[in-house]
């Protein structure tokens, strides 16, 4: 097998295998945690043993985890039940919110998360790349030093701290909202008022997340462009008398983008995991917040669902990155 078709097939095959491993690993991982979902979801030890038993039966945690060779049906286990349900695209019902299907919980949280994280990622990618490019171009000058200092500072600043500072400053000085996605219970006169409200709620969390993400993009872009600038073919281009714009646009950028594609793909993959700290500061009901509370409640079905979704999106993002790689640099897919 060689050529593009083989490359594609190989990559997709590996991706599928990864997902299978993740499904199993997810299942084991949470059951290693100490604690009992039948009790922890309820946060009260004053349950009579019969009630706890009834809950275990409802959750299915009364069954063996993998196999019980002494039982009548050794394969009637939590794991086979999980795989069976998964094959029907059924993620189960939350333990902590006993009347809520996991898919509903995760679906709503996912929408909220994308709402916040996607604009931030896009802004950070665009601003970071442009800043990195200019910094590299102006290496050693004031712009470079300034951009570098700024990026390093933002990158190393704890997200939580930056979030709180921006929240207090933005709310006190500019009257921006402190929490949530919209003003709850607001009756909008028209579409513009609604947009304004949503926009004003987005400003602070997006700004926080963009600032935190921007540094990394800027630094990678800068060093990658600098690498390329050192190559012989750039020197040749210069010697040919090409304009700086042409050199960057046609000779440097495409090669310099390779590491960026990796980074963007990785980050976009993790986008769905939410921005746990930003979500916590701005009370954003996203996937990050949901995952954190699910860990505290030993809510296995929600955790399994959330981690599966995160794993899937990381795998898919990586797959896309590999494919883009092949297109940006044909040597990758031929080799």
């Amino acid at each position: 097998m060689s050529g593009r078709g083989g490359y594609l097939l190989r990559k997709v095959g590996w991706a599928l295998l990864t997902v299978l491993v993740v499904i199993t690993f997810n299942f084991v991982l949470f059951r290693v945690l100490p604690g009992d979902p039948a009790k922890s979801g309820l946060r009260d030890p004053r349950l009579n043993p019969a009630a706890v038993e009834a809950l275990r039966e409802r959750f299915g945690t009364d069954k063996p985890v993998f196999v019980d060779l002494e039982a009548d049906n050794p394969f009637d286990s939590q794991f086979t039940a999980y795989l069976g349900a998964l094959s029907r695209a059924d993620l189960g019902t939350s333990y902590a919110f006993r009347d809520q299907p996991v898919s509903d919980l995760i679906g709503q949280a996912l929408v909220n998360t994308l709402w916040l994280v996607l604009p931030s990622q896009l802004l950070a990618i665009i601003l970071g790349s442009v800043l990195g490019l200019f910094a590299a171009w102006r290496r050693g000058r004031a712009l470079d030093v300034g951009a570098l200092t700024f990026s390093l500072f933002m990158w190393s600043l704890p997200t939580f701290f930056l979030g709180i500072i921006l929240l207090v400053a933005g709310a006190q000085w500019f009257g921006l909202p402190t929490a949530g996605r919209v003003t709850i219970g607001a009756n909008y006169a028209d579409v513009w008022e609604a947009a304004l409200d949503i926009g004003s709620h987005l400003i602070l969390p997006t700004l926080t997340l963009t600032l935190v993400l921007l540094g990394e993009y800027m630094l990678i872009m800068r060093s990658s462009v600098l690498d390329v600038f050192g190559e012989d073919y750039i020197l040749t281009a210069r010697a040919k008398g090409l304009s700086t714009y042409r050199i960057i646009r046609h000779h440097a950028l495409r090669n310099a983008m390779l590491p960026m594609v990796t980074l963007i793909a990785l980050n976009l993959g993790f986008t769905v995991s939410g921005a746990i700290q930003v979500e916590a500061v701005y009370s954003w009901p996203g996937l990050g917040a949901l995952t954190v509370s699910a860990v505290a409640d030993r809510d296995y079905p929600v955790l399994q669902g959330a981690f599966l979704l995160i794993a899937l999106s990381v795998v898919v993002a990586n797959l896309v990155a590999e494919l883009i790689y092949g297109w940006l640099d044909p040597r990758v897919s031929e080799g």
């Binding site: 009790k39 922890s40 349950l47 409802r58 919110f97 919980l105 929490a179 219970g185 917040a289």
Partner: protein, 568 residues
Amino acid sequence: MRRHRLFSLLVTLGLLLAACGTTQGTPAGSGGDGEPSASSGGGGTATGGTVRIGVGGYPDSLNPGNGVLAESYNMYELVYDTPISVISSGEYVAELATDWSVSDDGLTWTVTIVDGATFHDGEPLTAEDVAFSIELYRDTEDFPFLPSYAAPFETVEAPDATTVVLTTADPLVTFEAYMAFIYVVPKHIWEGVDDPVAFENEEMIGSGPFRLAEASQGEFVQLEANTDYWGTPPNVDGVIFQTIDNADARVTALTTGDVDAITEFPATAVSTLQNTEGITVHIADIAAGGSLRDIMFNVTAAEDCPADVGVCSGHPALKDLTVRQAMAMATDKQQIIDVATLGTGSPGLSMVPPGLGDYYASDVEDYAFDIDAANAMLDDAGYEDSDGDGVRECLPDQDCENLTFRFNYADDIDTAPREAELLQGMWEQIGIAVEIQGLDPDTLTSVCCPTFDYDIILWGWGSDPDPAFLLGVALCTEIDTGFSETGYCNPEYDELYDAQAVEQDHAARVDMIHQMQQILVDDLPYIIPYYQQSIQAWRTDRFVGWPEDDPTLGFEDPSGLLALRPAE
């Protein structure tokens, strides 16, 4: 959030009734002119805009049977009615029930239900619905809490539209307390539900003063005034409970006016808020305190260790009462209150907090703080620091090296790390070392009970309106069930507990409950460092009538909304 569910209800109900102004002296509305209701609010009912409350959590279910968190119960209190309510003085008063009585043998209860109450969908609320609700909670074993409040009722009947007759196998002294948890749901909706646990109850049809407008998991709950309420309807248009996860963000939201009130914020923000114009900080009177911090010791005796699950690895020296007494004497309760809670608590005694009225035994004899006496006591008992490392060695007949104890605290309590460090410093002075480790509540439960795989745990409790609930944690019979946290067992205590459970004379029951508190302090399965005072803060620019003039009302949960009216 764990174990802090029940007490807030007491306050809720108190506020509700105070606000309705029917049976109470309307203390809550005394912000200006004494009469809180519609006449002073600008002419009509529900003229007043929507109150916004910033809260730390969010309800875990719209289905009253499924609720676990305090936030859920706050919502149920507003959307549903219960037959009987409890107010903050510990008194039980009528809500849906106009009257209730028990037969001479104490086994048959007859409850008269108010005539003319309706559900939010317009259907009348009758005794049928009350009976149905009691049976629903009793028979749905998978509901986490409510079945225990309905379990004693063997038969439930509604002979006519306003009468419910209940029978029990044994006399039930806590009848009123149980009735305060029966949220009456409409039979015409719920009888068609196959699996009540899986029922999302998205419409949430109740009969309470507010109805559900919209709810978004983890984000907000919006309630609107029920203008057709059979009692006195609210003066405001509605209320929004907005979830603001971060405590600093909650404080900021209040100062900028995004919300009108907040609950649950760090004591460190008190002075900032007190100095902000237009904001009132209300620290509840300790007499309304229903929550406590507890230091529990693993004292499980080998013969009491639960058969299958028990690990019972408690430190042998902690089973010696002398060691626990010395630790109690070396615990400076006031310092913990001053440093960790910035003064918002009062020194604790036993498992019954002052908010429970006459059940609280304030005259219990406690151990005076005295480091020297504590040291002398350990010296006399033979615990000596022979190797000079600052930690006393165990006695020869104990299977241990020295008095170094594992010390876990619940990491969801924000002041717990500070309190643990303070305790470490105090006990260090009597030659006792602790290794501190914070654990999440679930892990804590798994090391606690009924495995008893710990030495010392720092945790907290919120009390039921009735003391029987919290006093139950020290029973011998609860060791196997995991409700006992310490493995403590004293048959004399169990006897008193059984006796008070059927004692129909209130004074005699109170006396028994006081004796039990003294036993707990004498035997020291727990040290109670302090009882907590709740802190709330609110703005007065949009709404007035916050319950600030009543010292016994903590605004622990925001249902005083019923007394609120728009500012002029």
